[in-house]
Structure formats: C-alpha cells, structure tokens
C-alpha cells in the first residue's frame, strides 16, 4: 500500500465494490501515513457514494472531498476544486474514487496533467459476479473504455469478486482466475484482493496480490 504511487485512482463497473474498496483502502492507508484524502468523483450514482460516510472517515484521518453542493439529494455532476490541492501537493496521498463505468471516468480527464506515467496508480476493481465483467472479454472491454475516457492506463487489478454477505471462497477464487487471465493479456499485476473480513482466514495463502479485508462500511446493517 505504501509502495503504491501517491495518486491512486480506483475505477470499475458500478457494483464492483470500488467505493467500498476505496473507503477501506483509505482507512488502512491512513493508519500508515498522514495526508490521506479520498476524493469522491462519482457523478453517476445518486446513492451509496463515499461522501455519505464523511463523518465516519474523518476520525481515521481521511478527509473526504466531493461536491460543492451539499446534501445527498443532489445528483448534479459537480466536483469540488479542492481535489486539486492534494493532486498538486507532492506529500499528499489522494485516492480518487471514480463512479460508474466509462461515463463516470470522464471526470478524470480534467486532471490529466497530474497523471504522469510512473507517478500514479490506476486500479481496476473487478467483480466476476457482475454480469458485464464475468469473462475476460467483458473486463478487457471495460478497461479499454475507461482508459479512453480517463486518458490514463490501468496499472493494477483488484480482485474484488463478491456477492456481499453471501460471498464464498469459491467466488474469490473464480475472480482470481479471471483477473489472472486479464493480467496476462494486459501484462499488469493483480495488486489487491478485496475480501470480506469473515473469509480472510479461509483463503489460500499463495494468491497473487495483497489481501485487503473489507469492512462493509457503505452497506447499512439492515440490508
């Protein structure tokens, strides 16, 4: 996590769990280093955006940047200029949580000047249980459209294959195999495996990528 570049973009299909991954990643990162900002660039989804968890993230030392427009009732595609500060400040760590699909990734284009190859990471979150990213062709298509919109290249894969609380080890392995194939085609590594906490101990130990235990922060207990 500390070896990742200080600018990290988290992209993926909606439902891949990228916001949940981004939030968990931010909390873990803030345990190790200061100056962690999570920028909610989601201009696509009206619900379940990381800005909703602003108060929960603050105590962990994660500042959340989102829209000027306050209130969960807005679905205006507005992003705060505050996002520029950690992008420009070389000692800041910033995680860009990029909403839904290539449409959502368009917001990244505005920050192109900061995406110098070798100085950023763009992680693609893959959930093999999402209908559109169940096979290699689906994931490749997805990455291709997002890269074009974002004008940046994916540097790592995140196997985040899940069925929420119903996730099994088999689901994770299935996702790992899919990511492995994508990894070979694109020649990019599997960087992380996002797994609900309860399953972490049951996973085989020889999987490529760092296991990041996921606490379900975005999903209410009653869901």
């Amino acid at each position: 996590m500390l070896k990742d570049n200080r600018i990290r973009m988290i992209i993926g299909h909606y439902g891949s769990g990228k916001t949940e991954f981004a939030v968990n990643y931010a909390i873990n990162l803030a345990k190790e280093v200061g100056n962690v900002a999570l920028a909610d660039l989601d201009v696509v989804n009206p619900y379940f955006r990381s800005r909703e968890k602003y108060e929960q993230l603050q105590p962990f030392g994660v500042s959340v940047l989102s829209s000027y427009v306050k209130g969960s009732g807005s679905d205006l595609p507005a992003v705060s200029a505050d996002v520029l500060a950690p992008l420009q400040d070389k000692v800041s760590n910033i995680i860009l949580d990029v909403g839904g699909d290539s449409m959502g990734a368009r917001t990244l284009g505005r920050y192109k000047e900061y995406f110098v190859p070798g100085e950023y990471d763009m992680f693609c979150v893959v959930n093999a249980n999402r209908p559109e990213t169940q096979d290699v062709a689906g994931v490749l298509h997805h990455i291709d459209t997002i890269e074009r919109a974002a004008r940046a290249k994916v540097t790592g894969l995140i196997n985040n294959t899940h069925l929420l609380r119903h996730t099994t080890v088999e689901d994770v392995i299935k996702g790992q195999e899919l990511c492995k194939k994508v990894s070979e085609v694109l020649n990019i590594p599997i960087k992380y495996i996002g797994v609900i906490e309860a399953l972490v101990e049951e996973l085989p130990k020889d999987l490529e990528g760092t296991v990041l235990p996921i606490k379900m922060i975005m999903r209410e207990d009653w869901m």
Binding site: Y14, G15, N45, P46, Y47, F48, S72, G73, S74, D75, N127, N129, R130, P131, Q134, H162, L163, L164, H166, E220, D221, W222, M223
Partner: protein
C-alpha cells in the same frame, strides 16, 4: 443459472426482458435511470425497441399504443414522473391494455428529492387517474423478489388485461444484491384476439378505446372491470407474516421499510419483546384477510412507512377498529433506523425509552 450481483433497476429491466418484454418507452429521472439505460442497451439486441420519449406523458401514451398491438411493454419512472403518467394509466385501464409500469419512488411532494420514499402509496393504490379503476401494485422488499414479481407482473397484466405497477422505493432501485432468473410456471393466458394486429380482410377491425358515448354502456363496462378487480382481490393478494405468532405489537411495513422492521423485530426479540410483521407484497389488493390471523397476544398495530402516513389508512380498514393503530414514519428521503422503530414499539408497550 448462477446468481449474479445486480443493481435493482438493472435486475427489474433484465427480468422484464426475460418475461418477454420487447418494447420500452420512458423518460429519464433519478433514481431509476439504470432501468431505461439497461433497456436501451439490451432491447435492440433482441429485435425490440427502446424509445426515449419527449416526456413521461408521451411515454405512457406510447405504451397505450404499443400495448394495443398485444406486445409486452414496459415504462418506468419515479414519483413526479409517475404523477405525469396517471392520465395515461387511467386510459390503459379503461381500454383494458396490459402493461407493466415501474415506479422507483423518491421524496415528494413536487419535484421533491432523489432519496428513497414511500409517499406514492395514495397515488398508486387509490388511482392517481380518473374513473372507477384499480390495478395490482407489487412492492418487492428484495431484489430477488423484484425480479420474480416483475416477471409475474407481465402474466397478471395479460391475464386480466390491466396495467400492473411494480413499486420499489429508491433504495430497491439503487441497492445491489445477488439475484437469479428462475424459469417460472406460466399462467394459462388468453389469446390476445382484441389486439390491433391488422384484419387482413378476415375480421372486423379491433378498436382500442376508452371513450364511451352511452352511459349505460360505460356502466356495463365499469361493472365488467369491477368484477375483474373483485377476482384480483380474491386471487392475487400476496403478503408475508414474520414472527406474528405471540407478538404484542404487530407492525405493518412494505419494501425497504419491511427489511428494517425485521431487523428491529429480531433485536427486540433479544431484549425479550415480542413483535411481528405483516408485510404486504401487493399493496393493491391489500392483504385485508391477513389481519384476521393476528393473534390474541397483540395489543396494538404499528404502521411503519417512509411517508407521513398513507398505508395506515388501509391498516385501519383491515383492522376493523379492533386494535389501536399507531404510526412511525420518516419522510422526504430519510430512512428509518431499526433503533427508532424499537423505541416506538417500547413506547407503545408503555416501557418508555
């Protein structure tokens, strides 16, 4: 087929296609946009048609036309957009046109907000449009149920020649859950010999119309429709009872709210307080008879809604004055927390907070 993770709006759209829906007409509005988006991507692949209309009013009238040809058709919207569709829904009911209409409801009144709400209960169950009509209203509480009920809705629409509403609050549209698409046992459906499919010179033209010039004819028509509504009240009611046996307070809730209420019931049980739930799955026809199964232990009813109190009217009708009826609700897009509901139950039972 294995389970896949889908967003509510996508799952409903996929279920509709699975049920044979080939034509969709709609106009965008949050929080249901993923539904038309899915249709716009998938319907052309199966030789169907997706039309983004110029307004909700146009969309529902396209539904009128397309349903008249006997095709399986769908439109979807959210609260203020649904308000616009009411005239067309009344026309479809009058002209006996089968169609499925999805309402992923949000805060109101007026333009309101984009967060989940259940304040369309009156509009949806009392007939937002004019005239003596009813239509079935399905209120799923999980995405699997949303899938199953959407598929069922098309059969029910065809069987009774009626518009059918699938109503989920915004949370049902936006949340993700594992779903599977099961092969359902289909009803025996009548041939659509009323559809405007071209006479080929072999029969008299079929006419799709909701205008009647003779009041005696219109009364006859309304009595015919009413007999059908009575049949639906007899055969199409659906509900779930949850831990009602031995309950001191029986709550009534549907959709997302029912899930929260179940959590509250389980937590109350751990504290030694017995509460149960009647969950209407059809809001119309309302599960009146379920209230006859409320046990002697019950001291009160509690309607829990994401509104300031709308379903509570049906709860009072079903209760027939037997038990005190209380209410707890959040509105405007606010979602009740299990703890708030627990406190209300304790208050009713006299325990205080």
């Amino acid at each position: 087929m294995a389970k896949v993770l889908m967003k509510g709006n996508e799952a409903i759209a996929a279920a509709a296609i699975k049920a044979g829906c080939k034509h969709f007409f709609g106009y965008p509005i949050t929080p249901q946009n993923e539904l038309p988006e899915f249709m716009s991507r998938e319907l052309p692949k199966i030789g169907g048609a997706f039309v983004q209309a110029e307004s909700e009013v146009a969309a529902i009238n396209m539904i009128y036309g397309a349903a008249g040809t006997g095709a399986r058709v769908m439109t979807s919207s959210s609260s203020p957009g649904m308000a616009l569709k009411q005239e067309g829904i009344s026309y479809c009911a009058g002209a006996e046109l089968p169609c499925v209409i999805v309402n992923i409801s949000r805060g109101g009144p007026g333009l309101g907000g984009i967060q989940p709400s259940q304040a369309d209960y009156f509009m949806t169950t009392r007939g937002g449009g004019n005239g003596d009509y009813r239509h079935p209203v399905y209120a799923p509480a999980t995405l699997q149920e949303a899938v199953d009920l959407t598929m069922e809705a098309f059969d029910v629409a065809d069987y009774y020649r009626t518009p059918v509403i699938v109503m989920g609050d915004g949370m049902i549209g936006q949340m993700m859950e594992p779903v599977e698409f099961k092969e359902t046992t289909r009803r025996d459906l009548p041939v659509k010999d009323w559809a405007t499919t071209g006479t080929e010179g072999k029969r008299k033209p079929n006419i799709i119309n909701s205008l009647a010039l003779d009041p005696a004819e219109l009364e006859k028509h309304n009595f015919k429709l009413d007999a059908r509504y009575k049949e639906m009240e007899e055969k199409e009611v659906r509900h779930e009872m949850y831990k009602v046996e031995g309950a001191e307070v029986v709550m009534v809730a549907y959709g997302t709210t029912a899930r929260i209420v179940k959590n509250a019931i389980d937590a109350l049980e751990k504290e030694g307080i017995r509460a149960g739930l009647i969950r209407p799955i059809t809001l119309w026809p309302f599960p009146m008879k379920a209230f006859k199964d409320i046990p002697e232990t019950a001291k009160a009813l509690l309607s829990v809604e994401m509104s300031t109190g709308q379903m509570i009217d049906d709860v009072k009708i079903a209760n027939e004055g037997k038990l005190p009826v209380h209410f707890f609700g959040r509105t405007g897009g606010m979602i009740p927390a299990p703890e708030e509901i627990m406190d209300k139950v304790k208050e009713i039972l006299g325990g205080g907070k």
